[in-house]
Amino acid sequence: MTAKVNRIGLPQDAYKGGKSTLCPGCGHDAVTASLIRVLFESGVEPWRLAKMSGIGCSSKTPGYFSSGSWAFNACHGRMPPVATGAVVANRTLLPLGVSGDGDTASIGLGHFVHALRRNVPLCYVVENNGVYGLTKGQFSATADRGAKLRGGEENTFEPVDVCTLALELGCGFVARSFAADKRQLETLLKAALSFPGTSVLDVVSPCVTFNDHEGSTRSYAWGREREHPVVEVGFVPHWEAPEVEIPAGEVREVPLPDGSLVRIRKVEEGFDTADAAGAWRRLREARARGEFLTGLFHLATGRPTFVEGLDLVEEPLALLPEGRLRPPRSALEDALDGLTP
C-alpha cells in the first residue's frame, strides 16, 4: 500500500524528525505531533520552513519534526533576533519559532516584545508549562500567582501573560491553546502559519515531571478541567474554495493574504476577535478569576510586516549575485568625490 501524500506529494513521514528525548508524556511532544500533522496537511515545503528556537526542553523540539527543514537552535532567549535576521535575508522562508515560557518571558522577553513591535514574519509558538523544565522545575515568569511547585513553594509574583502582551504590542494574531486539545491546536497552528506577520500561539504544554501536580496551574488535569474556548476556529486552506454554507451562530470570516480563510464562531457571547482591547480586558479578567481561556483571541490583517516595511527587492537578499551586491566603479568614484575637500 502506498502512503497517503499531501498536495506537494509528500507523505506524513516526510515531516517527522529525530526521536524525542523528552520525558514520556511531556506536553511538548504532543505539540510536536500536532506540528507534524499540520505541516503535512498544509503541504508546507519542508525546505521553506525555518525551524527557530532558543534553549529549553521546548526549544529542543525542532529536532523532532520536519528533518527536511533547516533549523537554528539558538542561545537561550535569542531566537527572535536570529529569526528576524534570517527572514530579512531570505523573505521566502517560512520561519516557525518554537520557544518556552522561560525562553520567551524571562531571558528573552525583550526580544519577544521587539519582534512583536516590528511584526516580523514569524509564527511564534510558546510551549508554556509555567516552569523551567530543562533546569529542573523552577518557576518561570508565566507562572500564575498562587501556583505551587511540587515541594509546595508558592509563586507570589504576577505572571507575564504573553497573550495580553502581544495584544498590547499590536500583534495581529493572538491565540492560546492546550497541548491536549489537539483539534483546536492544529487549526490554530494552520492559521498561525498562514498569518503574514508575527502570530503568537501560547500553548499550555504540561511538564509532566515538574509541574503536573495538584496545586499547579499548568497541569493536564487543571487544563482539562478549566479549558474554556471563547471561540471556535475553522481554517480553510487556500487551495480549497471556501464553502458557501453559512454555519450556525455568529461567524467572522477573515481572508489571509495567502488565500486561506479563517472562520471564527463565537462560543462566548460578546467575545469579538476583531477587538484587541476587548480581548485584553477579558484576558485580564480571566486571570483574576483563575479561568483558562483558549482559542483565537485576536485576528487582524493589514498591518505591514517588518520585511514589507524594508522596501526590499523581491529576490532574497541572500541569493543576490555579485553584480547586484557590489555597486559599479562609477559609484565609488562618486563617493570618493564626496570625500575630496
Binding site: E45, P46, W47, R48, A50, P62, G63, S67, G68, S69, W70, A71, F72, N73, A74, C75, R78, P80, P81, V82, A83, T84, G85, A86, V87, V88, A89, N90, T92, L93, G110, H111, V113, H114, L310, D311, L312, V313, E314, P316, L317, A318, L319, L320, E322, R324, L325, R326, P327, R329, A331, L332, D334, A335, L336, L339, T340, P341
Partner: protein, 603 residues
C-alpha cells in the same frame, strides 16, 4: 620657530557651539593648499556644554600621529583656557576671545585678544546665529595669521556649505571680517606659517574618517544585512553605512533596496540578527564598541562553534565598563580573541588607516564566508571618528568569495547522504554549508550551539565531539595562512638592534618614532606591524630576530603582548610594553623616550 607647514593648531571651544564646521574649513583649506595634514576631534561625552578641542597637525612629511605641544592656540572656552594656554610651546601664538584676558599670562608666547563678541554683531544681525557665526570669525583670523590662501579658504567653505546659499553668504562675511580684522590688528609675519608646497602633496587625495571608510568598504563588499545598536564611537559607521547603502544599493530598475539596515533593541539582538542573516546566506554585519562586544559574547561563541559567518566591527573606546566613550583605545584585543566561554577563538583584522578600514572591511566578509566564522574588524575611535588623508580607495577587483556553499544542483549530484554539515571533505578544516530555502529536498541541517559531531547531530560522545572541535582548530590553521603577513620596516639588511611591534593606529606614532630614533639618536630600529590575528609566522620570525623588543599598544595591560606570548612556542624574551591608556592617541616622542629608557637599562 617651527618650520613652515610643521605645526599643531589647537582650537578649544565649548561642545555644542557649532565649531566643527569652522574647524573643518581650516583643515580643508590647508589640505587644498597641498600641505599634508590631519584633524583630530578631542571631545567630551556630552551633547553640549563641556570643553571640546580640535587639533590640526600639519607636517611636510605627512606625519599623522598626534604631537605634544601646541604652536597656535585658538582659545574660545573660559573653562579650558588656562589648561589650553599651558600646552602652548614657547614661541607659540595664541588667539583668544578678548574677555579671557590671556595677554601677559605667559611671557614666552604671543597672545592676541580678539573682540569676537563685538565683531559678530557687525556680521550677524540674527542673535540666534551669533554663537555659530563667531566661529567663522576665528577662521578668518587664523587663516590670515597662518598665511592660508584666501581663495582656498573660500573654496573650502563654499564646498562645505554647498546648496546652503544663505548660510554660505553669512559665513563668508564672518570669515572676511576676521581676515580683515587680523590684517588691521595683528603683527605680521606670524611665526607659525603655511607655505604652498612646490608640488601639491594632496593631489587626488581624499579626507575621510575611518567609520565612513569602513562603511564604504562594506558597501563595495556587498553587505546586505546590517544590524546595529548605536554606541559611541561606532554610531557614525552605522549612519554612514545607511547613507551609502541608500545611495548606491538600490535596484536601478525598481528602486528597491538590495540591503536591509536593522536597528536592533540591543547588541544581543544586533548580533543575533546578523547571525540569522549570515546563516541564511546574506553578507551580514554589525558594528559596536566594547560594551556591545561584551553583550555579544554568548552569541558570538555560538557563531564560532556552529560556524555562522558574520562581520563585527569593533570601534574601540577606552576603559572597562562604560569607561570613556569619547576616548580612544586598543583595549578589546584580549577580550575579542577568545570572546565567549569554552575554547572559542576569533580572527581579528587591525586597520591602521582609512584605506585599510576600506579594504579590510571587504576582506572581512570574504574571510567570514570562506571560513564560516565571525570576523572582527578592530578599529578604534581615533581611526573611526577622526579625519585622515588618504589616497583614493581602490575599486575592489577581486570577486566576492562566498565560500563553500552547496547549491541545489551540487546536492543533487551528491545525492542522499552526500552532504553532512561539518565533515572535512577537503582536508582544510572548512566544511561545506547549504542555505535554508534551497529546494530539492536535500541539504537541510540542524544548527546548534550544543555539542555536535561532524554530521551536525547532537552528541555527548567524547570522540564525536572532539573530532569536530579538532577540525575547527585545523580550520583555524587554514585561516591563519589566509591572513596578511605583518608589514615589516627594516632599517638595514641585517636585523636592527631594536625591534618595535605595533598594530592599528599606533602605526603613525611608531613610524614617526623610527625616523626620530634614527635621525636624532642614531638608533636603528626595525618595525613590525601586525595586521591580523591569528598571527602570521612572520610575527614570530620578527620576535626571534630581535633582542630588544617593544610592543606599542593602547591599553594598560599589554594585551597584544599577552597574545604574542601565548601564541609563541618559545618564551618571548625582552619584550617591553610601550603602553598608552589615557584615551589620547600616542605620539612619536613618547615612543622614542620609552625606547631610549629601554636602551639605557638594557644590559
Amino acid at each position: 620657530m617651527p618650520a613652515p607647514n610643521d605645526f599643531v593648531l589647537k582650537v578649544g571651544t565649548v561642545n555644542g557651539s557649532g565649531s566643527q564646521t569652522a574647524n573643518l574649513v581650516l583643515l580643508r583649506a590647508l589640505f587644498r593648499m597641498g600641505v599634508p595634514c590631519s584633524g583630530k576631534n578631542l571631545f567630551p561625552s556630552n551633547i553640549a556644554g563641556l570643553p571640546t578641542w580640535f587639533e590640526i597637525r600639519a607636517h611636510p612629511r605627512g606625519w599623522l600621529a598626534r604631537r605634544r605641544g601646541v604652536d597656535l592656540l585658538v582659545a574660545m572656552n573660559p573653562a579650558s583656557a588656562a589648561q589650553d594656554l599651558a600646552e602652548v610651546l614657547p614661541g607659540g601664538v595664541v588667539v583668544y576671545d578678548e574677555p579671557l584676558a590671556l595677554a601677559g599670562r605667559r611671557t614666552d608666547v604671543a597672545a592676541h585678544g580678539v573682540p569676537f563678541g563685538k565683531l559678530v554683531l557687525e556680521v550677524c544681525p540674527e542673535p540666534r546665529l551669533r554663537r555659530l557665526v563667531v566661529n567663522m570669525i576665528y577662521v578668518g583670523v587664523v587663516g590670515r595669521l597662518l598665511g592660508l590662501d584666501r581663495g582656498e579658504l573660500d573654496a573650502a567653505l563654499a564646498r562645505m556649505l554647498r546648496g546652503k546659499e544663505k548660510a554660505l553668504g553669512l559665513n563668508r562675511a564672518a570669515v572676511d571680517l576676521g581676515w580683515r580684522w587680523a590684517g588691521d590688528h595683528l603683527p605680521a609675519p606670524c611665526p607659525v606659517a603655511v607655505e604652498r608646497p612646490p608640488r601639491n602633496l594632496n593631489e587626488g587625495r581624499i579626507l575621510v574618517d575611518g567609520n565612513a571608510a569602513a562603511a564604504l568598504g562594506a558597501v563595495f563588499a556587498g553587505v546586505s544585512v546590517f544590524a546595529w545598536y548605536p554606541i559611541t564611537p561606532s554610531t557614525s559607521l552605522g549612519d554612514a553605512l545607511a547613507g551609502y547603502l541608500g545611495k548606491y544599493r538600490r535596484d536601478p530598475a525598481t528602486g528597491k533596496a538590495t540591503f536591509a539596515v536593522l536597528q536592533a533593541e540591543d547588541e544581543l539582538a544586533a548580533v543575533g540578527m546578523a547571525m540569522g542573516a549570515g546563516w541564511a546566506g546574506a553578507r551580514a554585519m554589525t558594528s559596536t564598541s566594547g560594551p556591545g562586544i561584551s553583550l555579544m559574547g554568548e552569541l558570538l561563541g555560538f557563531a564560532y562553534y556552529a560556524e555562522v559567518p558574520c562581520v563585527v566591527v569593533d570601534v574601540q573606546r577606552l576603559g572597562p565598563s562604560t569607561g570613556l566613550p569619547t576616548r580612544t583605545a586598543q583595549g578589546d584585543i584580549l577580550q575579542v580573541a577568545t570572546l565567549s566561554h569554552g575554547d572559542t577563538r576569533h580572527p581579528m583584522l587591525f586597520p591602521s588607516s582609512v584605506a585599510e578600514a576600506f579594504t579590510m572591511a571587504g576582506d572581512a566578509f570574504d574571510l567570514a564566508e570562506r571560513f564560516q566564522t565571525p570576523v572582527f574588524l578592530m578599529s578604534d575611535l581615533d581611526l573611526g571618528m577622526n579625519l585622515w588623508p588618504s589616497e583614493p580607495f581602490p575599486f575592489p577587483e577581486k570577486p566576492l568569495d562566498r565560500g563553500k556553499v552547496l547549491k541545489e544542483e551540487d546536492l543533487a549530484r551528491l545525492g542522499k547522504g552526500g552532504f553532512f554539515r561539518y565533515v572535512d571533505r577537503d582536508g582544510d578544516g572548512i566544511p561545506y554549508r547549504t542555505l535554508p530555502g534551497t529546494p530539492g529536498g536535500l541539504g537541510s541541517y540542524f544548527t546548534r550551539g550544543s555539542g555536535h559531531d561532524e554530521f551536525g547531530r547532537y552528541t555527548e560522545d567524547p570522540a564525536g565531539y572532539v573530532k569536530n572541535v579538532e577540525r575547527i582548530a585545523r580550520k583555524w590553521e587554514t585561516l591563519r595562512s589566509a591572513l596578511p603577513a605583518p608589514e615589516v620596516i627594516r632599517a638595514g639588511t641585517e636585523p636592527a638592534p631594536v625591534g618595535i611591534l605595533h598594530f592599528g593606529t599606533t602605526r603613525w606614532a611608531v613610524e614617526e618614532a623610527l625616523s626620530i630614533l634614527r635621525e636624532e639618536h642614531g638608533i636603528a630600529a626595525d618595525a613590525c606591524r601586525i595586521l591580523a590575528y591569528p598571527f602570521h609566522d612572520g610575527v614570530g620570525e620578527f620576535l626571534r630576530a630581535h633582542g630588544d623588543l617593544y610592543m606599542v599598544e593602547q591599553n594598560r595591560d599589554g594585551q597584544m603582548a599577552s597574545l604574542l606570548r601565548a601564541a609563541n612556542p618559545e618564551p618571548v624574551v625582552g619584550l617591553e610594553g610601550i603602553l598608552r591608556y589615557d584615551g589620547f592617541p600616542p605620539d612619536a616622542r613618547s615612543v622614542v623616550d620609552a625606547v631610549l629608557v629601554g636602551r639605557r637599562s638594557a644590559p
